[in-house]
């Protein structure tokens, strides 16, 4: 949605610059605006579905993370295989008080990632997982 609005602003600014064809660009920009905002709303809807489909579960020996709407993925990362945990918060996320927790194993393909956690929950999860990972660590 944000991307769509930014794009719209850029197009409008470009249209304003070519002022000598005002009679043409006004309806064209209006049509483009409708399309872009429509696409933004649809993307928003999909984003909402995707967010609702993201879930995680801490079990005794592993962490389950489920995500995806079209392609559903369920990742199982045993605590004994966890190498390190990342908590990342970009500027956008920080302004809402959120963070992303990411687990890493020795395999590059492991993709257990939980975005949009409240910072407290993220910190708690990180510490809890680090503790459990240490306790159950296995060799490579």
């Amino acid at each position: 949605m944000v991307t769509a609005l930014v794009l719209l602003l850029v197009v409008a600014a470009g249209g304003l610059a070519g002022r000598n064809r005002a009679i043409v660009w006004l309806p064209a920009t209006a049509a483009l605006a409708v399309v872009v905002i429509g696409a933004g709303l649809v993307a928003n809807r999909f984003a909402q579905r995707r967010v609702r489909a993201w879930g995680y579960c801490e079990r005794e020996d592993d962490l389950l993370v489920q995500r995806g709407v079209l392609i559903t993925r369920l990742s199982v990362v045993p605590f004994g295989r966890m190498q390190f945990i990342d908590v990342v918060a970009g500027p956008f996320e920080r302004s809402f008080g959120l963070a992303t927790v990411r687990l890493h194993t020795a395999a590059a393909a492991s993709d257990a990632r939980i975005p949009g956690l409240g910072s407290d929950e993220a910190a708690r999860l990180r510490d809890h997982l680090a503790e459990l990972g240490e306790a159950k660590a296995a060799g490579l």
Partner: protein
């Protein structure tokens, strides 16, 4: 304090910079020497070239002087560099295997290189290049002894030793296997096309040859690497693991500890079906690049059987993975709608500690992974799979190159199998820790 630790700082062989610079330096020297004798330049030119040669020699001398190594406090320390000093410290307890590599130039001078392989996935290499061949072997034995004596490795249980020759690749078979491959077919087609063009339009042919130098060099080097990498390959099983000796001009003696093998793959290419040949490759954790290999080749798996019959492959597999499953369950019929070309090859099976999957469109690719090496599991279901009530289970390992997935199984079966595999992986991990306590 062993003799190695007591001897303090040591130097590598003085000819090492020459060997390291390798063929490039020799080429430059040859060009210089050739042009020196060919035409009569002014005396200033000759002096200029001599000064240049002198500078190179001084650079080699300095690079030799500043490099030194020693064993200190259970670590191997290697220091190099004049302006930017680099000090490498490798804890001997982490060392799993030490390989001896001898490029052709080193063999001419009677030198060899030691490469230390540690358990991590990093590319920083512990390389002692070059020592005299005898010294290298002695040092290797001493370093291995030190690494095993370390307290954290004391309780490492020795797997049953079987000092036996497992596989030896004959020269004829290797050459035949390279000849009957897609690479060779491409080269043959190119040569035929070139010859035809030469008859029709000689000028065009010459210009093509001239401009495609890099391409042909790439093709030739690919063929050369296949030949050299597996020439007279012998695989033996010893106490430390599998020992592979190979090489035509550049020889390598490599040891692969049992614990380092993350996955095994057998490929039966379409072209080899009439001969009944297959190749067996292993995926290792933390593979290091060989000197002179570019990135693309480093991504390839280590070939323990570049070409062989099914019996050879089965025999080797039984030593690598004693618990390999025998029965395979084929994919459900409805997978034909989703993957018509792959359907006849899709199957999987499991034993208590190993999972096997087969896949592949033209070639049949069989992959084994020991459950103790699985890092994480993923259950993936795309939209077409959802319509057909299928799902895929992916098993991730620490090796870089093999992606193992149990493709396109029935949803109920996939869910049940996922839970079973989680428990089996946990048990396999705990058992592994008991057998190889400090191991990778």
């Amino acid at each position: 304090m062993t003799a190695l630790e007591a001897s303090g700082w040591q130097r590598i062989h003085p000819l090492s910079p020459l060997v390291r610079a390798g063929a490039v330096l020799l080429g430059v020297i040859a060009i210089f020497a050739g042009s020196l004798f060919k035409s009569d330049h002014g005396s200033g030119e000759i002096e200029g070239r001599l000064v240049f040669g002198g500078l190179i020699a001084i650079w080699g001398l300095v690079s030799w002087l500043v490099t030194r190594w020693c064993v200190e406090g259970g670590d191997l320390r290697i220091e190099t560099g004049l302006i930017r000093r680099s000090s490498l410290r490798i804890p001997l307890s982490q060392v799993q295997a030490i390989d001896i590599v001898r490029p052709v130039l080193a063999r001419i001078f009677g030198l060899s290189e030691l490469r230390l392989r540690t358990g991590g996935a990093s590319e920083s290499s512990g390389r002692l290049a070059y020592l005299t061949a005898k010294h290298a072997e002695v040092t290797r034995v001493q370093l291995l002894a030190l690494s095993l004596n370390h307290p954290s490795n004391q309780s490492r249980a020795q797997p049953p030793s079987n000092q036996g020759l497992l596989v030896r690749i004959g020269v004829g078979q290797l050459i035949a296997s390279i000849a009957v491959s897609w690479l060779m077919i491409v080269i043959a087609l190119l040569i035929v096309a070139l010859v035809v063009t030469a008859f029709i339009a000689p000028g065009a042919a010459i210009s093509i040859i001239g401009s495609s130098g890099a391409f042909t060099l790439g093709l030739l080097s690919a063929v050369w690497h296949r030949l050299n990498g597996s020439f007279r390959l012998t695989v033996m099983e010893g106490r430390d693991g599998f020992q592979l000796h190979s090489g035509l001009l550049d020889t390598t003696a490599e040891t692969i500890p049992h614990g380092r093998i993350q996955a095994v793959r057998m490929v039966q290419p379409l072209l080899w079906r009439p001969f009944g040949w297959c190749k067996l490759q292993v995926d290792l954790a933390g593979s290091q690049r060989k000197g002179g290999e570019n990135r693309a080749e480093a991504k390839q798996l280590r070939s323990v059987l570049p070409v062989g019959s099914r019996e050879d492959a089965d025999r080797l597999l039984r030593r690598i993975l004693p618990d390999a499953p025998i029965e395979l369950i084929p994919a459900p019929l409805r997978v034909r709608f989703k993957s018509p070309l792959r359907y006849h090859n899709l199957a999987w099976g499991r034993s208590a500690t190993v999972v096997v999957t087969t896949t592949g469109r033209l070639a049949r690719v069989t992959s084994w992974v020991p459950l103790g090496k699985v890092q994480s599991l993923r259950l993936v279901q795309g939209p077409i799979q959802r319509r057909l009530r299928l799902a895929t289970i992916a098993l991730d390992t620490a090796g870089r190159n093999l992606a193992l997935s149990v493709r396109d199984r029935d949803v109920g079966e996939a869910d049940r199998v996922l839970l079973e595999l989680i428990d089996s992986c946990r048990d396999a991990r705990l058992n592994q820790r008991r057998v190889y306590p400090g191991a990778s």
